[in-house]
Amino acid sequence: MPSLGTWLAAFFTLCMLSFLYKDNPFFRIAESFFAGLSLGYYIGIVANQTLKPNLVLPLADNFSANWHLLFAGGLGVMLYFRYIKRVAWVSRWALAVYVGYYVGVNMMQKLHGEVLPQVGDTMLSLSWSGIGTLWNVVMVVGVLSVLIYFYFSAEHKGAVGGISRVGIWFLMVSFGAAFGYTVMGRISLLIGRMVFLVNEWARPLIGLIT
């Protein structure tokens, strides 16, 4: 017989799948419970895996070496000042540090980790040395035409319009490929749940796998 946990998991799986027939209270209950569990999960991981080992324990174990973490804790607490009307403006300070830092990191990720290497790798040899050169042409034309398609400072007429149309074709090939991959991804998720229902719940239930 399946365990209690397996029964519960099967029940929730079927509640969710019931939406395929039509919206119903079982689905809505499961959906709401899932949202609640997600938030509860956050509490568990943040308290257990970040705040305790990276803030509380270092301060408790060796305050003189880690006192600077008080600033981090202070910034974190300041985020919650937004719920106290009189001092809500203080939360902006913490938000400013949070947003500023991640924006700065992201800017360098984009420029240093994406734009430069990708541009560099597009500088390919176009002098004929076999079929590889043809593919180099495909890549260079593809990148440039897509970039021109996204360039809105010039009207897409004449040569610019023609090149941007080629860009659209490249984008369509890519979106088609992405569609094919997305189908695979979504089916994979369905396989995961069906494997559970068939192999872990239904089969033990009818005694095929004990």
Binding site: Q49, P53, L57, G113, Y181, M184, L189, M194, V195, R203
Partner: protein, 290 residues
């Protein structure tokens, strides 16, 4: 029967076809062969280049929303490491389930290798918030990012971690990623700190990763369930002893999943083609005057 009327069939009939196409190959396993693509071969070869005793980081950057794709990759990668004697540091950076996936997948695979010793051959450092901040800080000191392991053991008491302090002490990072975190390993960690990266993304995000792979910002790519099935095959071919694991009845593997993919893909292709046939037939037929 009027073709256009077939187009108006209840959506639930389409759902039934998809459900049947999924369930039947799970019940009756077909065992279709899987061919290898260059991105997965590159990942496998890069791992094979490592020596026994080398240390790599495996980052669980996914949750239940993509576990059926990422978990078989994680299992195959961990089995590969443990079969070859590569030591593994497991971390998780994805908030919604990354930690639990890391714990449960690691528990499952470790149970298949009874000789492994926790803290010596592998360690689970758990989850950390602020993924980019954690990735940056680990270049200076992994111990400060993860002062304890997943169960609260101080990192200084873990023998494996005495040898590993920064990215410089690692050979590579293998990220199983559901979304953008896998990209961060390429455009942040690899770009700024030079750590070689292999990413196993979900199929949905795989097309974008080809740009990183082509620019050599990644050492290999496992795109979705297909990538996972290819890696499984490569690992099985190289380490036939693992057959004892993959032959377990009822065990979900990416290779078995590809049977289902074949059937459901064919159903969807048939639906799309049929829809287009009806569309063009309707276009050719002159409309009746109103």
């Amino acid at each position: 029967m009027n073709l256009e009327r077939i187009m108006q069939i209840d959506r639930r009939i389409v759902y039934l076809f998809v459900a049947a196409g999924t369930i039947l190959p799970i019940v009756f396993v077909i065992g279709l062969p899987v061919s290898i693509t260059p991105p997965v071969q590159m990942a496998f070869d890069r791992m094979e280049d490592l020596d026994p005793g080398d240390v790599i980081m495996v980052s669980f950057d996914y949750g239940p929303s993509s576990a059926p794709e990422n978990a078989p990759m994680a299992d195959a990668a961990l089995r590969h490491c443990f079969s070859k004697g590569i030591r593994v540091i497991v971390i998780a950076l994805y908030p919604l389930g990354g930690l639990s996936e890391a714990v449960n997948e690691l528990n499952k695979v470790v149970a298949e290798f009874p000789d492994l010793e926790y803290g010596v051959d592998y360690v689970n450092l758990g989850y950390k918030d602020g993924a980019q901040a954690a990735m940056r800080k680990m270049n200076e000191n992994i111990h400060e990012v993860f002062p304890t392991d997943v169960r609260g053991t101080p990192i200084s008491e873990i023998p494996l971690m005495r040898e590993v302090r920064t990215y410089a002490d690692l050979e590579l990072c293998f990220s199983l990623a559901t979304g953008i975190i896998g990209e961060w390993w390429a455009n942040l960690v690899n770009a700024q700190f030079g750590l070689p990266v292999i990413v196993g993304p979900t199929a949905v995000s795989a097309p974008k990763y080809y740009a990183y792979l082509e620019a050599k910002q990644m050492a290999g790519l496992l795109g979705g369930l297909k990538g996972a099935s290819e890696y499984e095959r490569l690992v099985l071919d190289k380490y036939p002893d693992l057959e004892r694991v993959y032959a377990t009845p009822g065990l979900y593997t990416a290779t078995k999943g590809m049977d289902v993919q074949s059937i459901v893909h064919l159903i969807m292709i048939a639906f799309i083609l049929f829809g287009n046939v009806v569309y063009f037939t309707g276009k050719r037929r002159p409309r009746k005057a109103a």
